[in-house]
């Protein structure tokens, strides 16, 4: 390889020296400025006086002159806008200071570093903000959970109280029905008792509505679809409402179109409640004229349509927009007819849950037409007889475990009337003893007894290898409570109060 020609080397050196704007300072052993050259003013070092202490004129040298070997300080700003690479070179008698311009290099590096630092700061602030958002979200989540727990706790309390409230009127209804059956009952006594029964039923309906509203608020409504004899359901409703209509002198008619199958798959309890709410309202507000009920079934879409038309006072457009709202949304209407409004709100909820809708057409003084529909497929299950085969039940023993004497006695009467042999217990310890001793074919177990609860008794019995069906009787209609009853070993769960028909049908089903 050839060496660089001398004149080229000289050219490079002169160019480099021009670019670096070299300055030098010579400091003697005593620390005085011995000489200087180049362009110290370029670096903000004016008025240098030789023979004077260097560190007084060149403050940046404070503490730096005693270096044992050459040192380089990069990007030093001594004032002004120029940057230098400062080289400190010790020699035997002097210390040489070289200043080489690094302004351009500094500015390029500074630009890059600025971007990096700004990006780092931005990222940090973003992460802080995200953290703050996450903290706020968690805080809101905790608040929401607390509120939900509070609401649920409140709802559970209300449900519990209402359920307890339902038991006495339910017993009253049952006992009045039993008294009515006594042949010797006087006509007037029967009338009085019927009145007691009707009013108690109204009270029960109100409690049911409040309970359903609470359950809807908690978002815990579950549908229990089963094969329902729709005509029997309507016959039953007619038997309940016809006497009321007659008392008021109203025409009360139910028209079931031929298209409606005998049995449909639907939640009988909920659908029945929808109809009761609508018919009760129609009869309540209609003083003269009619209440007409029509049912039709669309086989193509499995839709059951129902219409309840009345010749009552009608409803203004403004009120129509409000009557399906929840009870808390309209103080005016809810304060006048709280249960009617609550009933309509719940009825629409149930209709929607059943895949349908509920609406109203009405004008003041022109009556009202409440029409709705639900999804209900035809069911071709053969209907079962409700009557009991006494020969089959004669030797069948059922253990009733309920701590309320009224309910226990009532259930005993129904079951004995159905031909079953009944033994009873009013607490968990006695129940365990009787169950293991008599090995009944079925147990009806109250889950919320004081002392040993039904849950604990069932667990104990299953542990002791008791294998017969156990039907839980629960005051709660919440799905999770029913599920828990099944988990501890029950075969089925009934929600109190329980009608005699439901009781006998369920017992029969599990004794097959």
């Amino acid at each position: 390889m050839n060496t660089i020609p001398l004149h080229i080397a000289k050219y490079i050196r002169s160019t480099w020296m021009a670019d670096t704007i070299i300055s030098y300072l010579q400091i003697d052993k005593q620390g005085n400025l011995a000489s200087w050259g180049g362009h110290p003013r370029h670096y903000g070092l004016p008025n240098l006086i030789m023979g004077q202490p260097a560190t007084e004129q060149l403050c940046f040298l404070e503490g730096l002159l005693s270096v044992p070997h050459s040192q380089k300080l990069e990007f030093v700003n001594l004032g002004g806008d120029r940057y230098a690479h400062v080289h400190i070179i010790p020699s035997s008698d002097n210390t040489w200071i070289l200043l080489l311009d690094a302004t351009r290099e500094h500015n390029q590096k500074q630009q890059m570093q600025q971007q990096v630092n700004e990006l780092t700061l931005l990222t940090y602030r973003q992460s802080q903000l995200l953290q703050e958002l996450e903290t706020a979200r968690r805080s809101l989540e905790e608040e929401k959970q607390k509120l939900e727990e509070l609401i649920e706790s409140k709802s559970r309390l209300i449900t519990s109280i209402l359920k307890e409230t339902e038991v006495p009127p339910a017993c009253m209804v049952s006992y009045t029905q039993l008294i009515n059956k006594v042949e010797q009952a006087e006509v007037r006594t029967t009338d009085y008792l019927t009145s007691v029964k009707d009013n108690t039923n109204s009270l029960l309906a109100m409690i049911d509505n409040v309970l359903d509203e609470t359950t809807l608020e908690m978002g815990q409504v579950a549908l229990y679809t089963s094969s329902c004899d729709i005509k029997q359901l309507l016959d039953n409703l007619v038997s309940v409402f016809l006497p009321v209509a007659r008392t008021k002198g109203l025409l009360f008619q139910v028209d079931i179109k031929d298209t409606v199958p005998t049995r449909l798959l639907l939640d009988e309890l909920r659908f029945r409640q929808v109809l009761i709410n609508l018919i009760t309202n129609a009869l309540k507000f209609t003083q003269k004229g009619f209440v007409l009920i029509t049912f039709n079934w669309q086989w193509q879409t499995s839709i059951l349509e129902f219409v309840i038309a009345d010749s009552g006072p009608g409803i203004s457009k403004e009120t129509q927009n409000k009557i399906f709202g929840s009870s808390a949304t309209d103080e005016h209407t809810s304060s006048i007819y709280p249960n009617s409004k609550l009933g309509l709100s719940i009825s629409r909820h149930f209709a929607k849950l059943m895949g349908g809708e509920l609406s109203v057409e009405s004008s003041p003084q022109m009556g009202s037409i409440f029409s709705g529909f639900i999804q209900a497929s035809a069911s071709y299950t053969l209907s079962t007889k409700t009557g009991q085969d006494s020969s089959a039940t004669l030797n069948t023993t059922i253990l009733i475990v309920v701590d309320s004497p009224d309910v226990r006695i009532l259930m005993g009467i129904y079951l004995e009337d159905g031909g079953y042999t009944v033994i009873t217990a009013d607490n968990g310890i006695e129940a365990t003893h009787l169950a293991l001793q008599h090995q009944p074919e079925l147990i009806l177990m109250d889950m919320q007894m004081s002392g040993l609860t039904g849950y604990e008794v069932v667990k104990q019995l299953r542990f002791q290898h008791f294998r017969q069906p156990i039907i839980a009787l629960s005051a709660s209609s919440l799905p999770q409570d029913h599920q828990y009853a099944l988990e501890v070993g029950c075969n089925h769960c009934l929600t109190k109060p329980i009608s005699p028909e439901t009781l006998l049908e369920t017992v029969k089903q599990f004794l097959k």
């Binding site: 202490p53 007084e56 503490g63 380089k72 001594l78 500074q110 570093q113 600025q114 940090y124």
Partner: protein, 172 residues
């Protein structure tokens, strides 16, 4: 007879964007700018300080580029330093951790020199991320900590005066 004013080199140490340059600008020129301009290398300033006890000192301020650790370049700037100000951005917790690490590294390089930890940006109290327990822990170790704000000037003069006093007392 001429009296020579004592000169002391002090370094501004700390992570980037903690406010070292702003503190120097406030102390030397009584100025402040919201605009952030990162320092590359080192900026050298001087300022004479008259202490309350009558002593005088000329401070040579080395405003060193911020970093969370000492580099070879940064280490070369520390030579001859009589003390240093360790600066933390009170609104960024990581700069506290950087300062603690830097203090150990600086101490290893230049020995046990006087220093003061400055919790800067004290005007931004709503974004403050330094807990009192952290401060107490360092105070118990004998550290001097001051709240400063280059923006308002809070604690700035006190910081340089205190460090000057400590350096003169220590004879560093």
């Amino acid at each position: 007879m001429t009296t020579t004013t004592v000169q002391k080199k002090i370094c501004m140490i700390g992570d980037f964007s903690v406010g070292k340059t702003c503190l120097v600008a406030r102390f030397v020129r009584q100025s402040f700018s919201e605009k952030y301009l990162t320092t590359v290398g080192v900026k050298i300033d001087t300022k004479p300080v008259n202490l309350v006890d009558g002593r005088q000192v000329k401070l040579i301020l080395w405003d060193i580029a911020g970093s969370d650790a000492l580099s070879t370049t940064t280490t070369s700037y520390l030579r001859g330093s009589a003390g240093y100000l360790l600066v933390v951005d009170g609104t960024r917790r990581p700069t506290w951790d950087s300062a603690l690490n830097l203090q150990k590294a600086v101490s290893t390089q230049i020995g046990n020199k006087p220093f003061i930890l400055l919790l800067n940006k004290a005007d931004l109290t709503d974004q403050w991320e330094i807990k009192q327990t952290m401060v107490d822990e360092q105070t118990q170790k004998g550290w001097n900590l001051l709240l400063t704000s280059a923006k308002t000037g809070m604690g700035v003069e006190e910081a340089f005066s205190l460090l000057s006093t400590k350096m003169l007392d220590a004879g560093t």
